[in-house]
């Protein structure tokens, strides 16, 4: 996965869109988990930006890493005030993250429930070569574990590769890779998705119209993600991309492998972010040393971006620095599909030179944003989508997983506010999600069914 870094010097922060492209390979699509994990790890990053050290802020994103909990870095004279304001905004930021995660999950669940294509088993990815159609349980378990090991090792390799590329400043390569990935994602997957949806609803569509629609969609997407565009549109595109990726995963991962992979990825995320030698952590530290925005990886940013014509450019610059970003997002994502580009929202939308903010009022004008890695989105959606697809309890299980994931996200953000350093976003949510999925499916479902058949209420 390559992350695109803008080589901006301290004084200037042009718009950099972060996109992470997945390595483009044709047929077997590399799975892109790295990036996801990266995102998750990224989420955990929180760096407090000190007012004094404003030079850092320029690249804001890097500087103002805030842990996902949306703790804005306040450059105010009083540290305490900073803390309070931070936590006060905490709730708002949690909601800013809730909404896109919810939207992504809704899109995935709606698609799974209505379009049959995504629940048919039409083969597997090359990254999960072992089939699960074996007669015995032990064999199946073994196969899924082997699949997981292969997948995780692919992710690790790609992550390390990405870190190396970043360390040796091969930015052009990264940039190209990202662009290719996002191209593939935007065009190919959207085409497949649209095709399936139209098939399901039996809507006739001719090729020229389809071509025009997809072309417009893809072109605008590329521009929005990699360059400038309205915030909401960029957010919408990122959500759509995450949903598409999640759908691909749901389709192509065999059942047991999917669950084991989810569990393994949480563990990997935990280790990669917290261990001193973890690749994600090194990535973040390197980016910080260089005072550059950390990976233009897949990061979803909810911050309000200031436009170029902003009267207070330094405010804007500051705002950017205060966004929290997920370090890990960058991406070590290997997508199964040839190119998977996940772009993060550009943190610095306005090419405004960052100047230290001197007055508190200016600070107050900034909007603080929260960044969450796109990988997080994808894995959450995979969990909920799989629950919707395979659970026999249908909606109860899906709803339970959804609530569990949201609570996990809350807790993670809370921990971020407490620890103020990078934390992986995946483990807590995925653990809760998995626990709730399995328990709801096996325990709650018979209970509720029996209750409903007698029309008893508890």
């Amino acid at each position: 996965m390559i992350t695109f870094m803008n080589n901006s010097d301290s004084e200037e922060e042009p718009c950099n869109e972060r996109t992470s492209l997945m390595s483009a390979e044709s047929p077997p699509v590399p799975s892109y988990q790295d990036g996801l994990q990266a995102s998750e790890a990224g989420e955990a990053q929180a760096h407090r930006k000190r007012r004094a050290g404003s030079s850092r802020g320029l690249n804001n994103i890097a500087g103002g890493e805030m842990s996902g909990s949306g703790v804005p870095v306040r450059e105010s004279a009083l540290e305490n005030e900073e803390e309070e304001l931070t936590l006060k905004y905490g709730a708002k930021h949690v909601i800013m993250l809730f909404v896109p995660v919810t939207l992504c999950m809704i899109v995935v669940v709606a698609t799974i429930k209505s379009v049959r294509f995504y629940t048919e088993k039409n083969g597997q990815l090359i990254y999960t070569p072992f089939s699960e159609d074996t007669p015995s349980v032990g064999q199946r378990l073994l196969n899924s574990v082997l699949n997981t090991i292969i997948m995780i090792s692919v992710i690790i390799v790609m992550t390390v590769f990405l870190v190396l590329l970043y360390k040796y400043r091969c930015y052009k390569f990264i940039h190209g890779w990202l662009i290719l990935s996002s191209l593939m994602l935007l065009f190919l997957f959207t085409y497949i998705y649209l095709g399936e949806v139209l098939k399901t609803y039996n809507v006739a569509m001719d090729y020229p119209t389809l071509f025009i629609v997809i072309w417009n969609f893809g072109a605008v997407g590329m521009i929005c993600i990699h360059w400038k565009g309205p915030l909401q549109l960029q957010q919408a595109y990122l959500i759509m991309i995450s949903a598409l990726m999640a759908l691909v995963f749901i389709k192509y991962l065999p059942e047991w492998s999917a669950w084991v992979i989810l569990g393994a990825i949480s563990i990997y995320d935990l280790m990669a972010v917290l261990c001193p030698k973890g690749p994600l952590r090194m990535l973040v530290e390197t980016a910080q040393e260089r005072n550059e925005p950390i990976f233009p990886a897949l990061i979803y940013s909810s911050a309000m971006m200031w436009t170029v014509g902003m009267a207070k450019p330094d405010t804007a610059a500051r705002g950017q620095s205060q966004q929290t970003w997920d370090a890990a997002e960058d991406g070590r994502e290997h997508l199964r599909s040839p190119s998977h580009a996940e772009s993060q929202m550009s943190e610095t939308r306005s090419p405004v030179p960052a100047r230290p903010i001197t007055s508190l009022e200016e600070l107050e004008e900034e909007e603080r944003g929260v960044k969450l890695g796109l990988g997080d989105f994808i894995f959450y959606s995979v969990l909920v989508g799989k629950a919707a697809a395979t659970a026999s309890g249908d909606w109860n299980t899906t709803l339970a997983c959804f609530v569990a994931i949201l609570i996990g996200l809350c807790l993670t953000l809370l921990l971020l506010a407490v620890f103020k350093k990078a934390l992986p976003a995946l483990p807590i949510s995925i653990t809760f999600g998995l626990i709730f999925y399995f328990s709801t499916d096996n325990l709650v479902r018979p209970f509720m069914d029996t209750l409903a058949s007698h029309q008893l209420y508890i």
Binding site: K88, D394, V403, M448, L456, Y457, I458
Partner: protein
Amino acid sequence: PAFGLFIFTIARDPLRIIILIAGAFFWLVSLLLSSLIWFIAVKASDPQDEQLQKGLLIFGVMFSVLLQEAFRFLYYKLLRKAIEGLVALSEDGCSPISIQQMAYVAGVGFGLMSGAFSMINLLADALGPGTVGIHGDSQLYFLTSAFMTMVLIFLHTFWGILFFHGCEHRRWWEIAAVVIMHLTVSGSSFCNPQYVGSLVPSYLLMAAAAAWAYLLSGGSAQNLRRFLLCKC
């Protein structure tokens, strides 16, 4: 109506949304534990015996009600701690959200989750083809389910307010009243499908709980009159 409540009163404030989701989560956990108990009981017993199964089911329901109330209490404790934290953090020394608001939101959270779990499979099935009550069951199944769910959601909301108020002021009889009401409502649903037995008492209880909660929240007959008269 519950969704209306949600949109108009809760969706504005992010803190309330978090409390809502956490409330839903607590209800879910209580459901999980109670179904675990029921599951174990069922597995340990004879599946052929109808009466035993029914008895176990009733036992499961009662146990679940008790667990729900227990979790409501736990949630209350958590929220108390959270309020202290919020007060410490806020600038002017008072909490951005009062315990009553929290009680309301927590109640709505519980209610929404329980309602969702009760209704959503039904709704999904209702989208498909079929006839209601073809096997001799009541034809009003969907309608009554809908009404029962709605009353239950509202009841949870009011119980939340009453419960928290009781905990705040250490009036144990209030808490006991909530628990008894909950048990009564669940018990009355055993009368189904004679809907008269379950729907009517539930609605009456809901009206009583609504009035009680309203009074506790500081409302009074005058307020109500003024509100209604001002409108027109």
